[in-house]
């Protein structure tokens, strides 16, 4: 297990290095000139050159990327400003190191991701299991019908319709928004409730459909027939044997989705104005804040890569066949 983790971590570091290089080249090779934007209306060539130098974008591209990497490990200077050791760049729009802003924004993204993940797993897997065990019955048809609508509805549409009905008209749910759980736990949970439900509903559908088909497949397997023949109770068969086999593909999907959520659920955060990584990215686009955008992409891809490793580690825990190899 330890060797596996070390090998995968090294692989992940390599992937992140490549992604950061590609992102850097894509963002900074193109002629959109952040210096020109920062320079403003009374721009003189000297001033432009000074700003370019301060931003560190007057060197050739590969030197720039080298400085960027150097900044992550040793910190770097932007003109008079010092950006300490894990320096992911400096946002001249916010006048703050990129990492600082990312750290400020991450708790909101984390809250949204974890809450939605709990709901998605509980209801998605639960609904899928029930549908599989009552195959062809009204319960199955109803839950699959709901799942289909959930899979087709858009976050920004569903979120605002639900907000309109349950917050603005009926006032059953509190206003959505993010408050730090440190300052008010109930305020935090209340404000996150609608975003959690919205992000979950859209994904529950996929999980319910996926769990159902995976469970039906598992129930057809020979080992399930074997334990049935052995005389195990139906629930013993479902929970102890079929479920375990059926969960492996679901966990893969969950890992990828959790990685996506942790990298910032862009649409949900924008719909409910939650100050997370995804909202930060959208705002940075509006402000043409390239270093900040670069930072959000790096956070999001790190989340993806880490989630992938976690999924593979979970495989080993669940599936004895993987452990052996």
């Amino acid at each position: 297990m330890l060797r596996f983790l070390i090998r995968r971590t090294a692989g992940a570091a390599l992937i992140l290095l490549v992604i950061s290089a590609i992102t850097y080249v894509l963002f900074f090779a193109l002629p959109s000139d952040p210096a020109l934007l920062a320079c403003g209306k009374q721009c003189t060539p000297q001033l432009l050159a000074t700003i370019r130098h301060t931003m560190g974008i007057d060197a050739p591209l590969w030197v720039q990327y080298w400085h960027f990497l150097g900044g992550i490990f040793a910190g770097r200077e932007y003109g008079a400003v010092h950006c300490a050791a894990p320096c992911l760049g400096y946002s001249f729009v916010n006048e703050q190191p990129v990492l600082q802003t990312l750290l400020n924004r991450f708790p909101a993204t984390l809250s949204l991701a974890l809450g939605a993940a709990v709901l998605v797993l509980t209801f998605g897997v639960g609904l899928g299991m029930i549908a599989a065990l009552r195959r062809g019955r009204p319960v199955d048809k109803a839950s699959m019908g709901i799942a289909l609508i959930g899979a087709s509805v858009q976050i920004y549409f569903f979120g605002i319709v639900v907000r309109y009905i349950f917050v603005d008209q009926l006032a059953w749910l509190p206003l959505p928004g993010y408050t730090s759980p440190g300052s008010s736990l109930t305020g935090w949970a209340g404000g996150m409730l609608l975003p959690w439900i919205t992000l979950a509903v859209v994904n529950v559908a996929t999980y319910a459909r996926f769990t159902r088909s995976s469970m039906l497949e598992a129930l057809d397997e020979e080992y399930v027939r074997a334990v049935r023949a052995k005389g195990l109770s139906p629930w013993g068969v479902y929970i102890k044997h079929a479920w375990r086999g059926a969960m492996t593909p679901v966990i893969t999907m969950f890992g990828i989705d959790l990685g996506l959520f942790l990298g910032g659920a862009v649409i949900t955060e924008t719909t409910f104005n939650i100050p997370g990584i995804g909202k930060l990215a959208v705002d940075s686009v509006a402000n043409s804040d390239l270093p900040m955008l670069m930072g959000t992409v790096l956070v999001a891809s790190t989340a993806m890569v880490v989630a992938n490793i976690a999924v593979d580690a979970c495989y080993a825990l669940i599936d004895p066949r993987v452990r052996a190899s």
């Binding site: 002629p31 605002i160 862009v266």
Partner: protein, 331 residues
């Protein structure tokens, strides 16, 4: 005995098969599809969307309005003092079937049907590019094997590691600046092209991975191996032996891709990274609708419902197509 070894059946047998009406797999799939009532109904709904989308200019001419004119501002009495439409459901009337837009006072119905056009054209372009590139890469990697397969697979892995939505939102405006100087306005066709190119650049990887897997398993089957043994050239094996067996997975991936790109395009426009004013677009309409939903709920309701119906119908159609092509699959 010799009849068993040749491809041509003896005359009597040929007559018998003709009487039994030898049906191609496509004909079998079609007859299975026709029996699926949900499938046919959703197919009709999807077809309707295509007709309305492509015929939008004709419809809007018959209807007598266009999606750009600010009727509410030109004609007094349509918008109230706050810029919200007068009358029920966002100013619905016999003149403006689905009401008018708050603020600018444009016609909702024509915006909606032109919006289908925008979404469909962009997503169909992406699906076409993604499928062609994905198929080419998938078949090449799966069939060639060795280092070609290895490098293609690593590239696919890498692309699938990119956080898609966030990257699109971040990269599309940057990519646009490559073509147009930041001080100039970006022409509409340029925006659409950038969206198509960026979505395609990252979209082909999943199709390629799917087809590579299919080709890997097909490659080991007897009919491919015997073709290789008797010296059939590689391009013939790929075109005549492999490709006919790949139509099913290709069609299935297309049926999943179309609704997914329609929603991706709308989501990008909602986030402000896709199509912008004044191009009619569902995502852009919902973005505006989300700003005014409390005063004029219907302006976001219509594009939202239209998209829900389209995606739902397309998903049902996709399920039916999958069932028809693969009778073993269970729903």
């Amino acid at each position: 005995m010799s009849a068993l070894l040749t491809d041509d059946p003896p005359p009597a047998a040929a007559a018998a098969t003709a009487a039994l009406a030898g049906r191609s797999p496509a004909a079998l799939a079609w007859s299975r599809f026709r029996r699926d009532r949900t499938g046919v109904a959703s197919g009709i709904v999807v077809a309707l969307f295509f007709v309305v989308g492509l015929g939008a200019p004709v419809i809007s001419r018959l209807y007598g309005k266009n999606p750009y004119t600010t009727y509410g501002q030109n004609q007094p009495g349509l918008l109230d003092a706050f810029g919200y439409p007068v009358g029920p459901m966002g100013g619905m009337s016999s003149h403006f079937w689905l009401g008018i837009e708050p603020g600018l006072g444009r016609d909702v119905f024509t915006q909606l049907i032109y919006g289908i056009r925008t979404s469909l054209l962009i997503s169909l372009a992406v699906v076409l590019i993604v499928t062609v590139i994905g198929t080419l890469v998938g078949i090449t990697a799966g069939y060639a094997g060795r280092w070609i397969d290895y490098s293609a697979s690593r590239l696919i892995d890498l692309i699938l590691c990119f956080p898609a939505t966030l990257f699109f939102v971040a990269f599309i405006p940057v990519a646009q600046s490559a073509f147009v100087s930041p001080t100039q306005p970006v022409p509409t066709w340029m925006r659409a092209t950038t969206v198509v190119l960026v979505l395609s650049a990252f979209g082909w990887a999943s199709t390629a991975r799917l087809l590579r897997g299919q080709v890997l398993s097909l490659r080991e089957r007897e009919f491919i191996q015997s073709a290789q043994v008797i010296g059939v050239p590689a391009h013939r094996i790929i075109l005549r032996e492999l490709l006919p067996n790949l139509w099913t997975p290709i069609l299935i991936s297309v049926s999943l891709a179309v609704p997914s790109y329609v929603t991706t395009e709308a989501a990008l426009s909602f986030l402000g990274a896709g199509m912008v004013e004044p191009t009619p677009d569902w995502g852009r309409m919902i973005q505006r609708g989300a700003e005014v939903y409390n005063a004029d709920f219907s302006y976001m309701l219509f594009p939202g419902l239209a998209m829900l119906v389209f995606v739902l119908a397309f998903n049902l159609l996709g399920d039916a197509v999958r069932d028809a092509l693969d009778p073993k699959s269970s729903r």
